[in-house]
Amino acid sequence: MIPAGFAYHRPADVASAIAVLQEHGDEARVLAGGHSLIPMMKLRMAAPAHLVDLQDIAELRGIEIGADAVTIGAMVTQHDLIAHEGLAEALPIIREAALQIADPQVRYKGTIGGNVANGDPGNDMPGLMQCLDATYTLAGPDGTREVKAREFYEAAYFTAREDDEILTRITIPRPAAGTGWAYEKVKRKIGDYATAAAAVLVGKGTASVAMTNLADTPVWSEAASAALAAGDVEGCVAAMLEAIDPVEDNRGPVAFKKHAAGVVLRRAIARAQSRAG
């Protein structure tokens, strides 16, 4: 379990980090909490020649709670998300989801930026970010650009991010007062990735529904969201089961995953509705 050797960089600001990425192209990778990347490097499924550690970059930290939107720095850890009282009030669904990720040690290191940039269909934050209609800010050699979470994921480990771009911040619009919310996940054991998970927001005439680990990208469904907005729970579940595309693996065969998806989604909807008002 010894990873391949690499040169280690620890820049103090985003511009210097981008410069290293630009210089080394696809030989270089960004290192955030390392709790997806280091396991991959130990298995030699990744062997970057240059690692750019983001831990010293202050501008990638911080959570700002605005009147209309919440902004979260890429290097904010899952532990920070759970501990932040303003965030728990503004967007309690983030805390509910973060508490279901891995275990305490992983949550102290794992960052929201790494979780959403990784592109692993098993990560919980991407589906949640699609449900919340988040926007990612990407900084590259030519400046910054914004990409919607709903347009960011292309296939497993393929995203709209270019090799020389760093995801710096995530901006999330605050749901209207009275919006119900829930993140529900089934897993084989504590600390495991989802067999199926659902993120649900439901308010007066509005809804948003996304699911995790049931396709090679997170799945946000416009049809499922519209059905739930109209109060049609069965229509919402049917549309979502149509949208997902699970594959058989050690978490079970396709039929089981579809069954689990339906159960998880119904539970999430019921809990979100019970919190709406």
Binding site: M1, A7, L51, D53, D103, P104, Q105, K109
Partner: protein, 164 residues
């Protein structure tokens, strides 16, 4: 790959060394520094036997490069003993309540329990179980580990009250 100079504080002591950046913190602690309290169980980020405290957070030292830890302050199970070398409160409670059998998971458990009680000095049993979810034990069935941590919390709180 060339080695880099690393400097960290381990159990209150400044240490320096040369290491390849890819060296894992657990290997640096065990092989370079001879601090063999933290164990290697799975080496795949699952079991928590390698847990150490790094800048006030419990981390799995098999999933941290030594280069990332450069400049950090680390506490291992050795650092949780009393200054005279006798067992610290959490260690003593593990002994008293049979919170270990083979002892392989114990250094990670105790180091994790230390941070948990720093953050939540008065946990419920459920909070203890949730808080040690990243530490696996093959022997005890966890009952006595939870008892030991609850007892340690009570003793630490009583000591704090007495001091006030």
């Amino acid at each position: 790959m060339s080695k880099t100079h690393v400097k960290l504080k381990v159990n209150g002591r400044e240490v320096e060394g040369l290491a390849e950046p890819r060296m894992l913190l657990i290997h640096f602690l065990r092989e370079e520094l001879g601090i063999t309290g933290p164990h290697i169980g799975c080496e795949t980020s699952h079991c928590g036997a390698c847990t150490v405290d790094m800048d006030g957070r419990s981390v799995k030292s098999c999933t941290v490069f030594v280069a990332q830890a450069n400049g950090a302050e680390i506490t291992t199970v050795e650092g949780l003993a009393n200054p005279d070398g006798s067992l610290g409160v959490i260690q003593e409670k593990f002994r008293e309540h049979h919170g270990l059998q083979c002892g392989f998971c114990t250094p990670g458990m105790i180091t994790r329990a230390h941070r948990l009680l720093q953050e939540n000095p008065n946990p419920t049993e459920e909070e203890v179980r949730f808080g040690i979810a990243g530490n696996l034990c093959r022997c005890t069935g966890y009952q006595n580990i939870v008892k030991a941590i609850m007892a340690a919390a009570a003793e630490l709180n009583a000591a704090k009250e007495a001091a006030e």
